[in-house]
Amino acid sequence: MRKRASIITGVLATLLASSAYAAETGKDIAFNRSKGNCLACHAMPTLPDAEQPGESGPPLIAMQARFPDKKVLRAKIWDATVSNPATFMPPMGKHQVMTEEEIDKVVEFLYGL
């Protein structure tokens, strides 16, 4: 009985964890204050729910046109200090603020902006 309960709990936990994971879109990650927190510094003018953005970084808009090479965009997010040593932007990948998968998702999200 006990064993079965623990198996069920285990299955449930896995399900919950994976569904929570699946639910985390690039946008969720970008908006999440303990992850990307991009809105602290960047406006996203094409998104009506990107409310009260900070103003220290440039607005994230027309990303695909401005960053035709996705790798360049990803590299900027992974470690912004490479292209600008004095930058205010945290090195999201290098300092593991976000995981590699999370960064990939955010890059896809940005391409829609």
């Binding site: 510094c41 009260q52 953005p53 103003e55 220290s56 200090t81 004095a86 205010f88 300092h95 603020v97």
Partner: protein
């Protein structure tokens, strides 16, 4: 490969020489004037006395709210308690006014001082504790708002209108100042911010909805009362910012924070002290 290493070494040596040259003629007063002038250029409309208001100086609405709250501050009860503590004689029969310079009035702007005999920075709170210990009492805990915080909230009002007047003289003082300067300007933590990233480079800028205050003027108005009557000392604010930006924080009263307060207060030299104020 060897070539690259050599190149890098040469580049690093060049940088070292450059940095050596800079730090050789940079003293506290040059440091202060550099940030003051940086802000002057960036915010030509701000008057020197506006810096005392910190972030409020950039936000007329918040300033209006501040002015109306300051007419009848919700924390007057705390100041009254602090006044009682201030006037209660210590075990020796003496009062704080008896053992602090100038009866404890118009002195807050001199602190922190560097005490050559002790070989360390002494904050106003340390001086109050020295007074307590010298007169038969136990020292207060530096980070305890109900004792030291409350007493200092009243005591510091006795210096309102005095100008911040930090002195850095001698080798020990200079070392402590430099240590504080390092804490302020060194990037640290997961997010790779320094205090200066926010309070120099991005002062006057909003991150999310929060306006960032300039370092100049930050040290003159403590303790502050946040969200009504929650007392916050300057060093507790250091703790708060370090936690927020994922630095490894200290506890109020640590040597690192005392040195930071020494440097940080110097950056407000010449500005009027104003205790105790409302902050969001």
């Amino acid at each position: 490969m060897k070539k690259i290493v050599k190149k890098t070494l040469i580049a690093m040596a060049g940088l070292g020489v450059l940095m050596g040259a800079v730090s050789a003629n940079a003293g506290p007063e040059e440091d202060r004037l550099k940030v003051v002038n940086y802000f002057k250029n960036k915010f030509p409309d701000l008057k020197p006395e506006d810096y005392v208001l910190s972030a409020l100086a950039f936000d007329p609405d918040a300033r209006y709210q501040y002015n109306s709250i300051m007419e009848f501050p919700p924390y007057l009860g705390v100041l009254e308690k602090g006044e009682k503590m201030w006037k209660t004689p210590l075990k020796s029969g003496k009062t704080y006014a008896d053992c602090l310079p100038n009866g404890g009035k118009m002195i807050a702007g001199n602190y922190p001082i560097f005490d050559n005999a002790k070989g360390k920075v002494v904050t106003l709170e340390d001086a109050i504790n020295d007074c307590r210990v010298g007169n038969g009492e136990e020292p207060y805990k530096i980070g305890d708002d109900s004792t030291m915080g409350t007493l200092s909230a009243y005591m510091r009002t006795l210096s309102d209108g005095m100008k911040m007047n930090i002195k850095v003289e001698g080798e020990g003082a200079m070392k402590a100042y430099e240590d504080g300067k390092h804490t302020f300007y060194a990037r640290a933590g997961q997010l790779n911010f320094s205090c200066g990233s926010c309070h120099v480079d991005n002062a006057g800028v909003r991150i999310r909805s929060e306006l960032l205050s300039p370092v100049v003027g930050q040290a003159v108005h403590w303790p502050a009362f946040r969200g009504g009557d929650k007392l916050t000392t300057l060093q507790e604010r250091y703790e708060g910012c370090q936690k927020n930006v994922r630095h490894v924080n200290d506890k109020a009263g640590s040597t690192r924070y005392n040195n930071l307060e020494y440097f940080h207060s110097y950056m407000s030299n010449g500005l009027e002290m104003k205790s105790s104020v409302f902050r969001k």
